[in-house]
Subunit: 298 residues, 4 copies
């Protein structure tokens, strides 16, 4: 929207192109294309069960869609130029379509698998989903700090666990705490409370660390305590924010009410004062006349 | 309730029928019947341990209850006609009783098992439960959008996982990520954090994907991050809504207060102005008289 | 506290007894006794490792504590009579101490194990814990309705699961869904998401129900959806309640402010009106005198 | 900050030292040192894969960092003296650096592993993390009471479980409920809902306690019910607190508004009254003159 308003100075060719790109019809076309593409990529996972003919057709369709998306981005680049990169979602589209166009993307299974990330474009093309994703993105900064604390706790815990439990010949414990990434991974498993006792802690205990549960219980308490509380803090913050806005609005309305009423009262009081001044003049005149009369009569 | 008010124009026969259907007695009768039916369906799960005689009796009772419920719905259809379908709960009853009446329902174990869904009628027949269920239904739209985002993430993840891990001969991994529904199911398991490490991720790692944990950790973070945050967003929304209503009410009350007080003040100021006007007249008269007197005396 | 105030009409003997029972010293004595008793009952779990002499002493001590608690309750019954049963916590003490005094409590291990429930008296004897427990009890009604809905869903699900999966010779599946309580128990396990896939659903699938996951996924979604949402509803309700009180207080304060200011203004306007009336009288007098003078002069 | 303000009375030597310690540069230096130290301690977990030379260098670096931190604390002790211990974070630094300096810290793997706790200094040295950690610490008192209730419930449950299930020869059950700490640990596992059914409850059932699930279900309901509700209570409290502050501020603003407006009105009414008084005087004078005139004329 904000991009649109700045384009009045562009030549009419661009302006017509922009109208086309931003039209409802074009967006519906792209949305439909993404959905059909999602289905095609789903069907292509059954590659082995399909006829070679069909697989080839679907692959061609997929490549065609990629090219259409690339053209869409190219057109947007023409219309918006550098402002294109001012919006995060455009970066997202750029990267996601770029992956599919990468030369090796047919050779490497990971790059080929990432083609389907294009389907996530639905998250910002469909208005209902966009509203939700943007609510998510707004809470990213708060979540970031929480994740930083959790990452620090996990790192410190992983160094300790590797030092304490990693110096062993037991392959099961080596698998769990043999090096730093393994320890961090195992501590993450403990944090998710999935099989923490018999899949992780018990193996360490059996390896000659009878007091290991104390370490893991402290870690569970601190990590889950941290998450639980930071979660609360986040809610409280979000609510306080939304309330601040409401309270402000409320305040302004009452303010306006009072201002208006007092203005009215002010006007009337001015009227009273004006009339009193007039009265005073009149009375002063009467008094004056009265004072003079006796002298006149004398 | 709203249905009732529109029936005054119906013939008295219908009106009396409606009174009967909406009576407390009838509702208590239906509630009791559902509860007894629930117990009977529970007892019938012990079919093998019961005498054939008892099973036959209970089955007859169950069929009788089904017919009573069908008659209840039929009567409501007569009374309310098309308006019957205006209320969601009536659809629910219609479908749930219809399943029991379906011809094959004795033959197919699934259809027979679904007879017990009738017991869920308690959710809207008992007022205490109805209050709760309707609170649930009110939050359905918000939950729907959240589920849509989660479904999209799961679909994209499932296509990627099938492409990356499904091309193998290992039967355990094939069971987990062999095709699209299996991958989605396994990703759902990972999302619930139940046995995610050793039942899912480790099997993929052992199948020659040492970097698979990165994929699953990203999926866990995004999915649980999404759920956690959308959950917060839902609470915040619900609270903001309930507060908006309260603030509005509050505002109206203060408004009223101020209005009343200012009205009173207005009246009194008008009184003051009126009296001042009278005074001015009087004083003008005095002044006039004074001004004339000298000329009179002249 | 409320009990105390009604005792002024009792004889002084009772009143002195009440003072003793309600004294800080007595409460500290009981608190200390509960804690020591808790430790003793903990030590007694090491029965086999202790000397017979020590076990006998600790058991005697435990019986002595039980009798002291019984006497405490007896004294309260004398002081408060029927009002004793007006407070829920007294019922709690009565039942918990009664269990220890039950004749068979030495014979049956369950009854003997329940002696330790006496330690839960700390939950209402220690003020800090009492505050928390009473907050818990206040939310019981809301939780009750939520649990009723969950219980109904579980019952209906259990009847369906028993009908669909229980008719088998597979001992593993019979253990899970062989009868109604087992099915309810297994569904509860699924609801807690502990080992739901490979410990429960997979066994049913392997027993010839390839579509069983659909049933369990629907159950997980409805049950966890219900819990999640009702949880939200509970928070929103609690907050709305606490806010309503605050808003009311806020409103009253502003109300008071405005009332006071307007009262002051009212008083001053009355003063103005009074003075205007006096002025009017004076001016009327002047006018009167002026009107009469000409006739006087005539 | 609060420490700084009280140092003006100290000699200039101390004051300059304080300036250095509290300078942004010094804090950035310490932050950088902690991060590098964290990386070094991480690299040192790969001890076996590194050259002896590198390990020795890194160990020397680590010891150097410890000494720098010790000097930092020593300088703070010189500057702030006893006020040093007024801030909790200083205690934290003192203990965490002290552990690394402890004589046996090279010999005992646990003490050596705890060296990495120094890295947690980041939690209060980096402002972004400090904000979060202090939010966490603020909720500690509330969490404390909740944990006390949970600990009491677990203790009572553990005594009961040990009494009921611990008297057996089955090694698996002895491992779970053989003594008090094991029972508490197993109940904690049940509370985290990790493998509660087949890893814990089923083993007890198979050991001849068919009704054991009743005990565990009651425990799960009470423990999770307690946590869930206390969690709600905590949120509600936090919100009520943040709102109370907002409402107060809001109230004060409206108060100020009204005060100002009424003050203005007051001033004008005083003006009106003053003028009325003058008028009255004037009129009284006129009346007086009028009253005297007739006597003058007589």
């Amino acid at each position: 929207m904000s991009l649109k308003q700045g384009t009045l100075d562009l030549d009419s060719h661009n302006s017509r192109l922009e109208q086309a790109i931003e039209s409802k019809l074009f967006r519906h076309f792209i949305t439909g294309l993404i959905i059909v593409n999602a289905v095609v990529l789903g069907v292509l996972t059954y590659e082995d069960a399909l006829s070679t003919q069909l697989v080839r057709s679907l692959s061609w369709f997929d490549r065609a869609v990629t090219i259409i998306f690339a053209v869409e981005i190219f057109l947007k680049l023409i219309v918006y130029r550098f402002r294109f990169f001012a919006e995060g979602w455009n970066w997202f589209d750029f990267v996601v379509v770029g992956i599919s166009l990468a030369p090796g993307s047919e050779a490497f299974s990971v790059l080929r698998a990432m083609r389907v990330l294009r389907v996530l474009r639905l998250l910002h093309v469909v208005p209902m989903l966009r509203r939700i994703t943007e609510a998510l993105l707004k809470s990213l900064p708060g979540m970031g700090a929480i994740l930083a604390v959790l990452a620090l706790l996990t790192y410190v815990g992983a160094v300790m666990a590797t030092n304490m439990f990693g110096d062993t010949d037991n392959p099961e414990v080596l698998e769990l705490f043999g090096d730093l990434p393994k320890s961090a991974y195992s501590l993450f498993q403990v944090m998710t409370m999935d099989g923490w006792r018999f899949e992780v802690v018990q193996k360490v205990v059996d390896d000659g660390h009878p007091y290991a549960p104390i370490f893991f219980l402290i870690f569970i308490f601190i990590a889950s305590f941290a998450v639980l509380n930071l979660f609360i803090a986040l809610i409280v913050d979000a609510l306080a924010e939304s309330q601040r806005a409401q309270t402000e609005h409320h305040l302004e309305e009452i303010d306006h009410e009072i201002d208006e009423a007092f203005e009215e009262a002010d006007k009337e009081r001015s009227e009273i004062l004006t009339r009193l001044a007039l009265l005073q003049e009149d009375i002063a005149a009467i008094k004056n006349a009265q004072d003079k009369k006796p002298t006149d009569q004398n």
